[in-house]
Amino acid sequence: MSDSAIEVDGLRKLYGDTVAVDGLDLTVRRGEIFALLGPNGAGKTTTVEILEGYRRRDGGRVSVLGIDPAVVHGKRGTSTDPTARRWRERVGIVLQGTGEFDELTVGEVVTHFARFYPGADDPARVIDRVGLSAKTRARTHTLSGGQKRRLDVALGIVGRPELLFLDEPTTGFDPEARREFWALIRDLARGGTTVVLTTHYLQEAEALADRVGVITAGRLIAVDTPQRLGDRDSALATVSWRTPEGSWESAQSATPTALVAELAARFGGEVPGLTVSRPTLEDIYLSMITT
């Protein structure tokens, strides 16, 4: 068994004359949480939907859990190939804003989806994991936006997938719900699930991802850990402090420790208002997509 869950080589996708994905290369290792970042229209969702077997591609090689998703897609997107079905059993998908089953309860929907998978998890346990136990008997149309999203996640994980796709999973979550959700995703990853996540929240990518990839204009322009992306770890640090006159001063330094020591000597002890910071993931990301 290969140690990559996903291998993409020179992926291309055209919409008419527009190139949506332009020679994208990507490898996602088994068991890792991989975050795809990129502005709207950069080709993130298109790429992910090709990997999910929802769209056809126009070029390149793609392997997801050892299978070409084009086989799963089939001629009209509805392959009845048994290989396709077995592959679907191993892949969990949480799309952006997917359809609700308005008049059914949370419990009924999750229980029904569990029937699709041979190795499904216990529906009650899944509902509990996404924090919807109190809503088990509620009709889905009465759920709040964040609760609906959690139901989406429940339906994505009820089949105990090896690989889970999450397309902007925490849009509409409050901060507390987002943290609970992160804990759930970490828990899944600890259990061996590979997670591919697209998100607009840099903080989310930083908190969750083992590696992040940045897509712009249909290409993957950088892949690294959140700590090292765009040479973030070796970027100049910014040291700021307050002068005895009361104004603020700051300096960029490749050797901030030395600078702080010097300041400490100059002030004879505590440096008032001292901060030392590196660029945030967001700073790095924004500089990448604007250049």
Binding site: G77, R86, R115
Partner: protein, 260 residues
Amino acid sequence: MRLGLWQGLLEIKQFLRSREQVMFTLAFPAILILVFGSIFTGEIGNGVKFTQYFVTGMIATGLMTAGFQSLAIQIPQERDRGVLKRLLGTPMPRWVYFAGKVLMVAFIAVLETVILLTVATLLFGLDLPDTGAKWLTFLWVSALGITACTLCGVAFSSLARTGRSAPAVVTPVALILQFISGVFFVFTSLPGWMQNVASIFPLKWMCQGLRAVFLPESFGPREPGGSYDLPKVALVLGVWCLVALVLCLTTFRWTTKRDG
């Protein structure tokens, strides 16, 4: 197999829980017969009440509403909401979705027909078929008719671009068919060209087949073809089943246009 039954059960549950749908779909044919039974109190001839004639149209309309209209509207809406896309992403065998719809349609069709016949019998003295052969005809005409309508509904669902436009696309079609197929008027009183147009579509043949059940044998010669011509009823409905099935298999869309 079990999965199909479960899917059907959930479809029926969803239907029963949306109150407006239950009211309109189940009661519609019964309301129609209330209106028609109250307006046309007379006889159509030979001691046969008008109700006896119109009930056939109401049954056929009910079957068409349950099979054709409801699916041709519901499926585009589910496609728009992404329900179909979500199901496509699961290992659920594709036929299960359709099995669920078929079971729901069958459930609605049986229930609304029973309600209609009960109302018509109690309030307007409808005479139910009195021979086993007629009940058998009733059964196969209804079954074949609802099958044709269901398949047409699924095939038609690919026509509406969005869920919101679906009712606008479907309702006029259904309404016009009702007017030209002898649901609201005695078929033979319609202009000849209209009868010819109606003869292309299943609803006219469903009505005709049902007239063989609810009207006496002696009314056969009053049909446009000089008899109830059940073999032709079976033939036309069967052809519609086949054509619609081919359309379903070749044109059904799980995702919206913008989903590529």
